[in-house]
Symmetry: C2
Subunit: 199 residues, 2 copies
DNA sequence: ACCTGAACACCGTTCAAGT
DNA sequence: ACCTGAACACCGTTCAAGT
């Protein structure tokens, strides 16, 4: 034992992140623990702390990868469409579809809290910002002559709305409310908002 | 020790819930633990398990009380208003204001997850249902001639939207998006949606 | 230099034993 | 009957010691 050098730091990092993603997908984030992760990759706990600052840091890395996948998925979904309204509605639908397909990963992105004094690093904030930016870009053709401030606000309102639907859907609270189709609800939210916004 | 009978089961229950609420308000739900709670009320851990099924049960009771307060607060905010549009906008604003005033309690209501096989009891679901019902009631005068299904969906869309704003605001992600006023954003979301829905 | 494994200070939950 | 406190099976994190 000690000094195995079977894997580089980078390899261990990648193995740990993949093991974490598997655990989260299959059993949810509550099942994630340093000891389980370490044994899944054939190392001891101590080794994880050589590669990650702590568990919060590891989760941040996992979340960054989830945000990357979500962003890529939304771009893909957009690609075949031309009509501005169709494109913006597709953003909502692909967001919901991603959350539905990967509920545990999606939840972790939005429910993980850093200790109150700690802020996420700038590169991470940029990934979040990119989500809003996607909506802003698609909104522009629909917001004839509106200032960039109005567009920022409309993008935030739309994304908040779709996001709220996702959360209530995942926590089963929309069933309680008597909603039968989450995608219909998303369509109602976005199209009615746009009707009001566009005028 | 043993057999103190200083307090009835009901009294211990109330003491524990109040201690939990204090801890959550001051330090957030991560600071909540059975041992801390027990020592705060002058009993040992074992006693908590005589009064509550487990920690999940205790948190459910805390959340029920939070939902009761939130509901009461929204009714109060509604009382002085007559105009239907003003009333429904006020629902959104008072919801946001409550979340802002009691962020840790509000977060716990919507982020606490029961083990996947366990459902919340019916009396708890009713408290959630009541929130949607409040919106439906206020929506009715504005939805001339629309079926009850359309109203249910519109209420769900509005509440999801406001809820989403709350979440992103509490997790500081709206700052990242460049939003300066959460209340303005709420107003934009609700009034634009209503314009689209009514008109 | 790299990794271990034991230690520390915590958890939630149970239940035999004490009064 | 009521409550304790020790036990069990876990946590995250650190770091002296081994190769």
């Amino acid at each position: 034992m000690a000094r195995r050098s079977d894997h580089s730091r980078e390899e261990i990092r990648e193995m740990a992140l993949e093991a974490a993603e598997k655990l989260i997908a299959e059993e949810g984030s509550k099942a994630l623990s340093a000891r389980k992760l370490a044994s899944a990759i054939g190392y001891t706990v101590g080794t994880l702390y050589l590669v990650f600052e702590n568990l919060d840091d590891l989760i941040l890395q996992v979340n960054a990868r989830t945000l990357d996948r979500l962003h890529a998925r939304m771009l893909e979904a957009l690609a075949p469409l031309d009509d501005p309204t169709e494109r913006i509605l597709m953003l909502g639908h692909s967001y919901i579809a991603f959350a539905d397909a990967h509920p545990h990963h999606w939840e972790l992105v939005f429910e993980h809290r850093l200790p109150p004094e700690k802020e996420p690093p700038q590169w991470y904030k940029d990934k979040v910002r990119r989500m809003f930016a996607l909506v802003e870009t698609e909104l522009e053709p629909l917001a004839a002559g509106r200032g960039s401030k109005a567009i920022t606000q409309a993008a935030a309102a739309l994304w908040s709305g779709v996001h709220g639907i996702c959360i209530l859907a995942i926590s089963k609270q929309l069933d309680v409310a008597g909603v039968d189709s989450v995608q219909d609800l998303t369509h109602s939210l976005m199209s009615n908002y746009l009707k009001g916004f566009v005028g």
